[in-house]
Symmetry: C2
Amino acid sequence: MGIADRKERDKEELREKILHAAKDLFLIKGFEKTSIRNIADQIEYSPGIIYHYFRDKNEIFHALHQEGFRQLMAKMSVLASVRNPIERLKAMGSIYVSFALENPDMYDLMFIKEAPIDHVIDLEHDDWKEGGGTFNFLRGTVQESINLGYFKGHDPEALSYMIWSVVHGMVSLSIRKRCDVVLASRKDSIVSDALDEFYKIIDRL
Amino acid sequence: MGIADRKERDKEELREKILHAAKDLFLIKGFEKTSIRNIADQIEYSPGIIYHYFRDKNEIFHALHQEGFRQLMAKMSVLASVRNPIERLKAMGSIYVSFALENPDMYDLMFIKEAPIDHVIDLEHDDWKEGGGTFNFLRGTVQESINLGYFKGHDPEALSYMIWSVVHGMVSLSIRKRCDVVLASRKDSIVSDALDEFYKIIDRL
DNA sequence: TTGGATTATTAAACAGTGTTTAATTATTTT
DNA sequence: AAAATAATTAAACACTGTTTAATAATCCAA
């Protein structure tokens, strides 16, 4: 079935081209300001073609969303070798924050934008659960820490959510420029400074 | 100058009507999905009139943004009577979170949406600074706590940003439905559970 | 009270959006 | 080579924020 295969590959190729163009444009102009026509112009096809590869603009969103999670998980995977769960926890925080600050638009897409999460819930729920996912990695690390005697009296799941909230809060306030108003002078360092404050607290528990 | 006054009042009245309609619609449909024409329909005027009262859609955003901050600050003001800064800190967290969960769309507008923050920075910077503002209230409370011997070795400003990040992170992940995917079973209670975890940590410092 | 200036309001248009439709071109199968 | 199928497009639809010029309403001075 070599011919069918090649056809399949050709189709996949154009799909990737659309996705690539979409990502490029969105990193420059932002997601909502990137139009279907912009993407079509970029790949030198007519706008209509995009609807043969994606149901709507949200499905492009969703595909990029998945790619972002693959990237983040790849960055996290180096932590498998860190034995001490508290050390791993802190390293996770640093990786999470640096991923967000180095790829603010991708982070925005993954964790801030409202777009089609309903869609994501349906389609990605299984991926999340079986694939482990970043949150389960965090929850596991917290559980390990508790097993070693840290975080006494804490609920592992709620504590994990709190920890996620700290790092997400820091980077999302920064990305959406909410600290510029109130912390203009140190807006470039405040996130890493605040992360250090959090590490100090962890060390004292 | 009674006539000029009345004219002024009439103008103000329509301005308020636009704002009211905009807020109503936006609470139902969301901000981006509320169009100028929708607002015009609601108040039974033509779309063009809105541009005689607001420069553009962002200026409506900005007006609602200010209203939200007035609301939040009003809720916070009851805390002036709480003497113990640690108690006040925790009460602030609870008020902040409940404000966000009770007015998710308003919170979204104030702290999550990207819209015209540049505009806000220019216009609102002074309000923020002199009027105190929520963040300065937090910073002051943290400073008071430090003066009383709490949070030893911490930088008050960075610590304040970290604390803000915790509560903002919790509610914004919830509002933007990022916990639904990963914590479906307890998505309604996770925010308050996580806040409790944070309080436990504060109590142990 | 009337006429002119000013102001408030509107209708219509512009350039853009996501999406759908039917028509066209290209490719594959018979 | 003809018929069937698939890929691609042009054109339209109903919407968006915003601007323009024209209209309607109001005010102010003579």
